[in-house]
């Protein structure tokens, strides 16, 4: 099925030749476009969101004002990031109505479509960490040490404690997500150092290190989407030919196996809140095992 030397996370292959990239089978059977459908859709959404924010400062078209921490769309729709507001609450500030309305809307939305859909469809850092993961695969880099993926949960809690102790929204002093977004929308230079650090970390130190293990904002969104309606299903799991491509491209590979292999009688729905609903597994599978579904859809073949 695969040429020797292809990158395989589980088998720890050590091929010296240029590793075969995951998805080559899918490209062969579905065409390049077919094998990148959701990736392209995601990038389009990510850049459209960015474009809406930039239309104001760049072209004077004020559809969206503010940034991802809090924004106002068309003068009526407030949106507020839950994690930053949680820090503010921990710091014992009760926010005004606009921020509260905004956070309720955001929470309802992501509770429906999967919390970490924010990560794969909106967050600007996702483009950075996806690129780092791609390059790491490309170059066959194996260096570094991956922290436990529980780190983000502890960090989420620890930062709320630190916010309570200092009375400040502490993560916002270093948060690469809000810093990157602010630097793009409002200008600013030094913020890019943080983004470059995240890129370097994911490239050289830890595979999928930042988004998959550290980022407390991603953890917060994951919590929000714990019971989300939209989920990915390994609906045609019996067709799986064990090429492992989905495991290689997935930013949270641990979430796939139970659904794909029906472990302990698990249904085909990928239930883990860490799944970002990115759809890369759908793209990259030449056997069309995966598709978007709702969480109660237990049909499988």
């Amino acid at each position: 099925m695969n040429a020797p030397g292809a990158v395989r996370p589980a088998s720890g292959a050590t091929g010296k030749s240029m590793p075969l990239q995951p998805g080559h089978e899918a490209i062969a059977s579905k065409g390049w476009l077919g094998a990148h459908k959701w990736l392209i859709a995601r990038r389009l959404v990510q850049f459209t969101v960015l474009g809406l924010f930039l239309a104001g400062p760049w072209a004077g078209i004020w559809i969206v004002k503010g940034n991802l921490s809090s924004s106002l769309t068309l003068g009526v729709l407030p949106l507020t990031d839950p994690f930053v507001l949680l820090q503010s609450l921990a710091a014992r500030h009760w926010p005004a109505a606009a921020a509260l309305t905004g956070v309720v809307i955001v929470m309802l939305f992501y509770a429906l479509v999967g919390g970490r859909a924010y990560c794969s469809w909106v967050c600007p850092v996702n483009v950075v960490t996806d690129s780092a993961a791609w390059l790491r695969r490309r170059l066959g880099i194996k260096t570094g040490k991956v922290p436990s993926s529980a780190t983000r949960w502890w960090l989420l809690g620890g930062l709320l404690l630190a916010s309570a102790a200092t009375g400040m929204t502490v993560w916002e002093f270093v948060n690469p997500v809000s810093m990157a977004h602010r630097a793009i929308i409002f200008g600013g230079s030094a913020a890019w150092l943080v983004v470059i650090a995240v890129f370097g970390y994911d490239l050289l130190v830890a595979n999928r290190g930042w988004c998959g293990h550290v980022c407390p904002m991603g953890a917060c969104y994951a919590t929000l989407g714990r019971a989300s309606l939209l989920r990915v299903s390994a609906a045609s799991r019996s067709a799986c030919n064990d090429c492992m491509d989905c495991f290689v491209v997935c930013p949270e590979p641990q979430v796939i196996r139970p659904a794909l292999k029906a472990l302990n009688g698990a249904g085909p729905i990928i239930q883990f809140p860490e799944c970002t609903n990115c759809g890369r597994c759908i793209d990259v599978c030449s056997k069309n095992v995966f598709r978007y579904a709702h969480r109660f859809d237990q049909r499988s073949a």
């Binding site: 996370p9 589980a10 104001g56 004002k65 503010g66 940034n67 921490s69 809090s70 924004s71 106002l72 407030p78 990031d81 930053v84 507001l85 503010s88 500030h93 926010p95 005004a96 606009a98 905004g102 040490k145 991956v146 922290p147 436990s148 993926s149 529980a150 780190t151 949960w153 502890w154 960090l155 809690g157 620890g158 930062l159 404690l161 630190a162 102790a165 009375g167 400040m168 929204t169 502490v170 993560w171 916002e172 002093f173 270093v174 810093m179 602010r182 929308i185 409002f186 600013g188 230079s189 030094a190 913020a191 150092l193 943080v194 595979n207 590979p253 641990q254 796939i256 196996r257 883990f272």
Partner: protein
């Protein structure tokens, strides 16, 4: 992918927990301290109108920049991490762009969190900072000249800033008109500092905490107490004859 994906989630979680917890809590601690270090506000950075006291502000402001966007004069900006101000928070520097004291307070209205207190509805009640005439050696009015620019540009002229007449000891003939700021009316808009004609402004607007002194809490001003009580609190004083040098031009006798 340091752990085998086949391990049940809970056990994997517990296995990694100790290390993850330690690392994450250490990181939180580090971030907390970094934040405290980075939270100091430099003397020339002023917060928008209605901003809560600096500590509360740093808990309330989520750094969205909506206040910046709605400021019609581009007074406000969000701090870059390279600036001395907490990254992403809104501020302005009076010497660069002052606040125009908009009647309708667009910046305050835009703030979704109340970090700019919505209770502020009258811009003349804003206290972004306090003007201080810091350099009496270069202020032209202190040199006995008539500049008056800071006084004339003040939107709260004659209440926030007045010109106090004083004898010019140097020429011994002229008056000096000393720009004098009054904290009960100065909004800290920064217009005076912005307009000072010197290379480096002699009048500067500082965050209130820097600009204001504070009397001892027990301190009472005798003349105010006397007025409140409608008379001296310690009764009539024995009037002593004033002693003066022989050559004094002032009259001898009892001082009032």
């Amino acid at each position: 992918m340091s752990s085998a994906p086949s391990q049940p989630g809970r056990r994997r979680f517990l296995n990694g927990a100790a290390g993850a917890a330690g690392g994450a809590l250490l990181l939180s601690l580090g971030v907390g301290f970094t934040a405290r270090q980075a939270a100091a506000l430099p003397a020339n950075a002023l917060r928008p109108p209605g901003a809560l006291a600096e500590n509360d502000f740093l808990g309330a402001c989520i750094r969205c920049g909506l206040c910046v966007r709605d400021c019609p004069y581009d007074t406000l900006k969000l701090a870059d991490p390279a600036d001395q101000v907490a990254a992403g928070t809104p501020y302005f520097e009076a010497r660069k762009v002052a606040c125009e004291m908009c009647d309708n307070l667009p910046c305050v209205k835009a703030c979704p969190t109340g970090a700019l207190d919505h209770k502020l509805t009258d811009i003349s009640k804003a206290r972004m900072g306090l003007a201080v005439l810091v350099d009496q050696e270069t202020c032209l009015n202190f040199l006995g000249l008539r500049c008056d620019v800071c006084y004339r540009v003040c939107p709260v002229i004659d209440r926030a800033i007045t010109l106090q007449r004083r004898h010019n000891e140097r020429s011994d003939r002229h008056a000096m008109l000393i720009p004098t700021v009054h904290s009960d009316a100065c909004t800290g808009c920064g217009k005076c500092e912005k307009s000072c004609v010197l290379e480096e402004a002699a009048i500067k607007v500082f965050p209130i905490a820097l600009a204001k002194g504070m009397l001892g809490r027990h301190y009472r001003k005798g003349w105010e107490e006397e007025e409140k009580a409608g008379g001296s609190l310690i009764g009539d004083q024995t009037q002593l004859p004033a002693r003066r040098p022989e050559d004094s031009p002032l009259p001898r006798g009892v001082l009032k």
